[in-house]
Symmetry: C2
Subunit: 103 residues, 2 copies
């Protein structure tokens, strides 16, 4: 089992339309990836570890798949459309990585 | 619902004992936090978005609670013991933040 982590840093001057992201972008991604996608999470940064401090990350999303192959087979045919939608909700370049699910 | 994100960057020279983390540290954390802890995840970075590249983050963990208050009430009495265990498995200082669960 793997997770694709999509992490938007909390840049000064960064803009992020959470309404569009939750109501349009992520449902579109879910529809494109289909049954290969086993689960999604979205976390919205509120603070650092101490309340009142700035969070390091604006948004942290995960997408879960059975394997790297399953992710790539589902994602690559729709990559241009999914990536082309990003400027509609943010000017922040996300950091993307693939992780093995340990827990 | 909130998640506490604990993110270990993939520093050059960083060491991380995943066996200790999964078999000793996280179970100890779970036992100390008790019923306030609603779920935990651990992701182990494998690559960037493209296979064969370096992941930005070595380990990404999340701990889920009903609220910031519930987290603090559960964590603060055990903070010294939990944080004191970190040098037993890593020399990487984690970035910690509190996020609202959106999905």
């Amino acid at each position: 089992m793997i997770r694709v982590n999509v992490i938007y840093p909390n840049n000064a001057g960064g803009a992020f339309d959470m309404d569009y992201y939750l109501s349009k972008h992520m449902p579109m991604v879910g529809a494109k990836l289909g049954a290969a996608l086993k689960g999604m999470t979205v976390d919205h940064g509120v603070s650092g570890g101490q309340p009142g401090t700035e969070p390091a990350y604006r948004v942290l999303a995960t997408l879960r798949f059975d394997s790297v192959d399953a992710f790539q087979q589902a994602f690559i045919p729709h990559a241009a459309e999914i990536q082309g939608d990003i400027p509609k909700y943010t000017n922040i370049a996300p950091t993307i990585q693939i992780s093995e699910v340990k827990m």
